[in-house]
């Protein structure tokens, strides 16, 4: 039984305004909550972390911190010494563990997130795990942008040249959090900052701040500037990763427990989905022109043809000073370009995965209204952008994910391949192959499609005067084809020795032979053979 299915201790649907996943406290748990609460109010972050660290590995007893401490830990994770060296040193001058507070906080958060994901009732008590889920979800729900929680001005104001985020100060954050327990008062009422940084949920609840945080992370994730890169790599990339993981878990819980899909008609279910955590999260981007804006954000600062179309998102640091290195900070790690690309693109893929997670729940024949998105639109738009990529390394990094675990990758590989084919043939015919659905209808049909696409001429240098110009597109097409074949091999290993497969391989060999004059193009055949045997 996974994290979304265990419902022994939860409140369930209730009329008293408690969350569905709400779990009541035992006296012992209340004791732990209060101890952590008082340590936190003293600003003794070393003790706070030590208290949790020394109990992280005790196989039988899971120490569950309350939701407010999770929010404090998330905020502490933003206090990186690359810009806050002075504050962290003065908070903990001796530093017995010799590790910075923010990294210790992150390790603790990773630990609890993993325990929730594995939900191993053989290792820990079911009550503790459900309580942990409750605390993490309370934290996650207070972080995520909420729809129409306040009558606030529209988040985005567009000018001709730029997208500008309005920064009107609306007094939100501190007072809107409803205490979920009568017996436990969170420390958030008395504590608004952690070492000078405002508690993360109230910081991100300012209009436009949540989206700014995502863009700030993505825009700096391939930076050359060391301080900006560290702000992304050491702070926001791991934090956004945690926030997205929590959101996914929260969505699973919503779908399997809160939505009650079994008892309603499909149209009703689609409406219900619009209230799901992921839908509300995505809607904070924009509900009307969702797909275009989402794709533009996801690929911000990537190198593709129509990038930025004249407008550029203005981003600002989430916390003051993040973009300046402390005087005493010495950077010792060299981040290479390709490392940056891998990490950055993986995060973007994760965000796309979140959107597809929602889309995959929509029954066929129905469409979501809020946010206004459809799977085909999304695939087309992303495929167009990918087919326009100028940077091959970024392109390959995008498709380097595991195509069987992120099921949207083959769909995007197919879409991109078709898009490249259109550019090559200079047509705008409606997309004519649907390779993936053929894969479901039979291996032979899939292999036929592969052969026909190999024979189009897209895969051999087609620009005879300046063959260099076609090489980028050919390399991209190679990548897509390999992703499709990899998916095929993983899903239906049976057809490998078949006559059709051999026919496909001989089409590949023909392509390779035609490439022999171009030393810079890789041979496809050995790559496919390697793929089969991996």
């Amino acid at each position: 039984m996974g994290y979304a299915d265990s419902v022994e201790f939860i409140k369930g649907n209730n009329s008293v305004g408690l969350a569905h996943y709400h779990v009541e406290l035992t006296e012992a748990q209340l004791g732990t909550f209060e101890t952590l609460n008082s340590i936190c109010l003293l600003d003794n972050f070393d003790h706070l972390l030590l208290f949790l660290e020394c109990q992280l590995y005790d196989g039988l007893n899971l120490t569950v911190p309350p939701f407010d401490i999770f929010l404090v830990l998330l905020t502490l994770a933003t206090v990186s010494d690359h810009y806050k060296d002075h504050s962290t040193r003065s908070n903990d001058p001796y530093n017995a563990s010799r590790a910075p507070l923010n990294k210790r906080a992150l390790k603790i958060l990773f630990f609890y997130l993993e325990r929730l994901k594995e939900f191993d009732t053989g290792k820990y008590g079911r009550y503790e795990l459900e309580l942990l889920r409750c605390q993490l979800f309370l934290a996650s729900d207070s972080l995520s942008p909420q729809r129409k929680r306040f009558d606030r001005p529209r988040k985005l104001r567009k000018t001709v040249a730029n997208t500008v985020y309005s920064c009107e100060v609306v007094d939100v954050g501190e007072n809107d959090f409803k205490e979920p327990y009568k017996s436990y008062i969170s420390c958030l009422g008395q504590k608004s900052t952690v070492l000078g940084n405002r508690i993360i949920n109230s910081q991100l609840s300012y209009p436009g701040e949540f989206i700014n945080m995502i863009l700030w992370t993505l825009c700096n994730s391939m930076q050359d500037h060391p301080a900006l890169y560290l702000a992304s790599h050491d702070v926001w990339m791991p934090l956004l990763g945690i926030i997205l993981d929590l959101l996914e878990l929260r969505q699973d819980y919503f779908v399997s427990q809160e939505s009650q899909a079994k008892n309603m008609r499909k149209a009703e279910y689609v409406q219900k989905l619009s209230q799901s955590p992921v839908a509300v999260f995505l809607e904070s981007i924009d509900s009307l022109q969702f797909t275009d804006l989402f794709c533009e954000y996801i690929f911000s600062k990537c190198d593709y043809l129509s990038a930025n179309n004249g407008r550029e998102a203005l981003v600002h640091p989430v916390y003051h000073g993040e973009a300046t290195l402390s005087n005493t900070f010495h950077l010792r790690i060299k981040y290479t370009k390709s490392y940056k690309i891998q990490k950055s693109i993986a995060l973007r893929r994760k965000l796309i995965g979140i959107a597809f997670k929602l889309l995959s729940e929509v029954p066929s024949g129905h469409r979501l209204v809020y946010p206004r998105m459809e799977a085909d639109d999304m695939i087309n738009r992303i495929s167009v952008i990918l087919s326009e990529f100028n940077n091959l390394e970024q392109f390959r990094a995008f498709f380097s994910g595991n195509p069987t675990s992120s099921y949207f990758l083959p769909l995007l590989a197919e879409g991109t391949l078709l898009q490249l084919c259109h550019t090559y043939k200079n047509t705008s015919d409606p997309l004519s192959w649907v390779i993936i659905s053929d894969l479901l209808s039979g291996a032979d049909a899939f292999l036929d499609k592969c052969i026909s696409i190999l024979e189009t001429g897209l895969f051999i240098p087609w620009d005879n005067e300046t063959p260099q110009d076609s090489i980028l597109d050919i390399c991209k097409a190679d990548t897509c084809l390999l992703v499709l074949i990899k998916t095929f091999v993983r899903l239906s290993g049976v057809a490998l020795g078949s006559a059709k497969f051999e026919a496909m391989l001989s089409a590949v060999k023909k392509v390779d032979a035609a490439r022999s004059r171009q030393a810079c193009l890789p041979r496809l055949h050995p790559l496919i053979i390697k793929l089969i045997h991996s």
């Binding site: 012992a28 003790h47 010799r98």
Partner: protein
């Protein structure tokens, strides 16, 4: 910051910058590919994990450390570790135990003989008499949480806390003692 050069050894010959480390995640991935190289691998791995820059990183956590050691027996790991570290280097032992929490009791068994709470208390008293306050601090962090020194309210912990307070009052201004007092107070509260 110097402009990146395509030929780092020529452009950047200063010792320290050649030593600049790679992203921890990349090094961890590289280590993983050598995991079948026997005890030399084990030695390098222990040095790697206990290196301060790796220890303080967010990527190298107990889960990874546990998995990569799965091939080796507890005895192999401890033998190799104790060839690298002095037996009384409690500072390092503490770091080792935080990286490999499942080896806590096994390590204490190697260090304390007989494996009894009494023997641990004797070591406490010895360190106090020697005024070795820094080792005392890390020794405390090392042994607590094991079967012999459980967290929570106990006469042993109360006694240790009293001893520490007495020493604090004796006008020593060692910062480790006041830290120790705080930490013992914290351990009393863990239930």
């Amino acid at each position: 910051l110097e402009a990146p050069s395509p030929k780092p050894l020529t452009a950047n010959r200063r010792y320290d910058s050649l030593c600049a480390i790679s992203p921890v995640e990349s090094m961890m991935r590289a280590f993983k590919t050598y995991s079948d190289c026997g005890t030399f691998f084990l030695k390098s791995l222990i040095c790697f994990i206990l290196d301060r820059k790796i220890w303080e990183s967010m990527e190298c956590d107990a889960h990874w450390c546990h998995n990569i050691l799965a091939e080796f027996t507890t005895q192999q790991v401890l033998d190799e570790y104790l060839m690298l570290v002095e037996r009384r280097d409690y500072f390092m032992h503490y770091r080792f135990v935080r990286s490999f929490p499942h080896l806590q009791l096994a390590l204490i068994r190697q260090l304390i003989n007989p494996l009894k709470t009494q023997a641990i208390m004797e070591e406490f008293e010895r360190l106090m008499e020697e005024k070795s306050y820094q080792p005392l601090l890390y020794f405390t962090l090392l042994v607590y949480g094991s079967r012999l020194m459980p967290f929570g309210n106990s006469s042993t912990t109360l006694y240790l806390k009293e001893c520490t307070e007495d020493l604090c009052n004796e006008s020593t201004n060692a910062v480790e003692l006041s830290l120790l007092r705080g930490i013992l107070g914290l351990f009393l509260k863990i239930t």
